[in-house]
C-alpha cells in the first residue's frame, strides 16, 4: 500500500472508514487467513433474496431474471422491484426478508463458528468498531463538503461504487477524499480522459489481489468457466480493468449530460507500477478518493480544471 503524500490530510488515516473485518485485522484480533476463511464461509451460506424466493416457489425463474434486469437500471432493491412489478405482495416480501435475516450469517458469526474468536470478543470489538466508524464517516463527509467540482466528484464516487457492486459484486465504502497535487498510484492504474464542456480524467489505481478479484467476478458474470479465470494479471485482466473504467466513466458522463454537460470520453488506457505519475495541467487539481472493499481498497483520482462557480452541486446519496 502507498504511503500518504504529505499534503494528503490523512487521506490514508489510521483506522478510518473500514469494514469490520479490516478493523479486526488492524487491531490484531484476527489474521488475514481467518478473514478470508470467514468471508468465504459467509458467501457459501448466505442466500440471495431471489434464490430464496425461487426455492419457496414465490417467484418463477423468469420473474427473478426480470427483476435482475430491472435492478441494473435502477438502484432499487430486489424485493422492492418484485413488489412493484406485482410478482409478490408487500406482506410476502416482509416474510421473506425476515426469513433471510434470521438465516443470515454475519462476519462475527462466521469467525465464531470457525473458532477464531469468542462471542464475547466479537461483541466487544463490534461495539468499539461502530463507535469509531460513526466518527470516521462523519469526518469523510465533512472533507467531501470542502472538495471542489462536487457534481463531478459525487458522480464519480457514486458510479464507481455502483459498478464495483453491479459488475464486481463488491460492496465498497468511501474511506477518504482529498484534494492533492499528485496521484497515489498502486500496482496498476487504469484511466480514461474525457473531452467536452467539463474535461476531466478518471484514474483507478488498484493492487494485484483486488484487481484479480474484480476481474474474476466480472468474468464469471459473462460466463467464463472457473478453470479459465486468469491467476495472474494478463492481457485479459488488463482489458477487464480498462473496460470497467470505461463503463464507470460512461455512466459518469451520462449523469453529467442530465445536468446539461456535453462530454466525450477517449478510449481508456492503463499503466503499471507505483511510480506512475502523469503530469497535471497547470492550474488543474487532482481529487483523490479511497474506497475500501471487504478485502482491500482501490484509489480513484479525478483530475480536472479548477472548480467553476457556476457548477451545480448535488448531495451524495
Amino acid at each position: 500500500m502507498s504511503e500518504p503524500s504529505p499534503d494528503s490530510e490523512g487521506a490514508v488515516a489510521v483506522g478510518g472508514v473500514q469494514f469490520f473485518g479490516q478493523y479486526l485485522l488492524a487491531k490484531g484480533l484476527i489474521g488475514p487467513e481467518a478473514l478470508r476463511e470467514a468471508l468465504d464461509y459467509q458467501r457459501s451460506v448466505n442466500i440471495p433474496l431471489g434464490a430464496l424466493a425461487l426455492s419457496k416457489g414465490l417467484l418463477t425463474e423468469k420473474q427473478v431474471l426480470h427483476v435482475h434486469t430491472e435492478q441494473r437500471r435502477s438502484d432499487r432493491m430486489f424485493g422492492e422491484i418484485a413488489v412493484l412489478k406485482g410478482f409478490m405482495t408487500r406482506q410476502q416480501l416482509d416474510e421473506l426478508l425476515r426469513e433471510q435475516k434470521e438465516a443470515r450469517v454475519l462476519l462475527g458469526d462466521a469467525l465464531v463458528r470457525k473458532g477464531y474468536l469468542s462471542w464475547e470478543k466479537v461483541a466487544e470489538a463490534y461495539k468499539n468498531y461502530q463507535a469509531e466508524q460513526a466518527q470516521a464517516e462523519a469526518q469523510v463527509q465533512r472533507r467531501l463538503q470542502r472538495i471542489p467540482n462536487r457534481l463531478l466528484v459525487d458522480s464519480v464516487i457514486q458510479m464507481s461504487t455502483r459498478m464495483l457492486l453491479r459488475m464486481g459484486g463488491q460492496v465498497s465504502k468511501l474511506a477518504a477524499v482529498a484534494q492533492e497535487t499528485r496521484l497515489l498510484p498502486r500496482e496498476y492504474t487504469f484511466w480514461q480522459e474525457v473531452e467536452g464542456d467539463l474535461p476531466f480524467a478518471y484514474y483507478l489505481s488498484i493492487g494485484t489481489p483486488e484487481l484479480l478479484a474484480l476481474a474474476h467476478a466480472i468474468l464469471r458474470a459473462v460466463g467464463e468457466p472457473e478453470e479459465d479465470l486468469p491467476q495472474d494479471v494478463d492481457l485479459l485482466v488488463l482489458d477487464v480493468g480498462k473496460e470497467f473504467v470505461n463503463i464507470v466513466v460512461g455512466h459518469v458522463c451520462t449523469r453529467l449530460s442530465h445536468d446539461g454537460f456535453s462530454t466525450m470520453p477517449l478510449p481508456p488506457d492503463h499503466a503499471e507500477g507505483e511510480d506512475f505519475s502523469p503530469t497535471l495541467q497547470p492550474g488543474a487539481s487532482s481529487i483523490n478518493v479511497r474506497l475500501v472493499l471487504p478485502l482491500g481498497d482501490v484509489a480513484i483520482s479525478i483530475r480536472c480544471e479548477p472548480s467553476r462557480e457556476d457548477f451545480p452541486t448535488t448531495r451524495i446519496r
Binding site: 434486469t69 459498478m163 459473462v222 460466463g223 470505461n246 455512466h251 458522463c253 451520462t254 449530460s257 478510449p267
Partner: protein, 122 residues
C-alpha cells in the same frame, strides 16, 4: 437459418459477454472487430443481418463507423452497445440511423430482446 451478427468493441471482455449471450440462440456471430475501421471493413466483407456496435473505440469511433456503414448500406441494422448513455450520444446515433441503444453493463436478456425486436421491425 441463423441471423448473422457482426460485433464490434475494443474490449475483449465485451466480446466474451456478447459471445456468451448469443450462444445457443438463433444468432450466429460471424465476425468480431475491435475498432470503427474494422467495423466498416467487416461489414462490407460479411454483410451481416445485425451489427452490435460499441461507441468509444480507438481509430474510428462507433458513431463514425455507424454513419459510414449506413452510407454504404442504408438498410443496415445497427444496435449501439455503450456505457455512454449521454443525451448527445444517444440522440446522435438514433438520428444517424441506429435501431436501438443498449447501455453497458447489459443483461443477456436485455440485449437479446433488443436484437429480436430489431429483426421483427425491418
Amino acid at each position: 437459418m441463423a441471423h448473422r451478427v457482426l460485433a464490434v468493441d475494443d474490449s475483449l471482455l465485451m466480446h466474451k459477454a456478447i459471445a456468451s449471450t448469443l450462444r445457443d440462440t438463433e444468432f450466429e456471430l460471424v465476425a468480431q472487430g475491435k475498432n470503427g475501421e474494422e467495423a466498416v471493413e467487416l461489414y462490407v466483407e460479411h454483410r451481416p443481418d445485425l451489427v452490435l456496435m460499441d461507441i468509444v473505440m480507438p481509430k474510428l469511433s462507433g458513431k463514425e463507423a455507424l454513419k459510414k456503414i449506413l452510407a454504404l448500406d442504408p438498410s443496415a441494422r445497427v444496435i449501439m452497445i455503450s456505457s455512454l448513455g449521454t443525451d448527445d450520444a444517444v440522440t446522435e446515433c438514433l438520428q444517424a440511423g441506429a435501431r436501438r441503444f443498449v447501455q453497458k453493463p447489459f443483461e443477456s436478456q436485455q440485449l437479446l430482446n433488443a436484437m429480436r425486436s430489431v429483426l421483427r421491425h425491418p
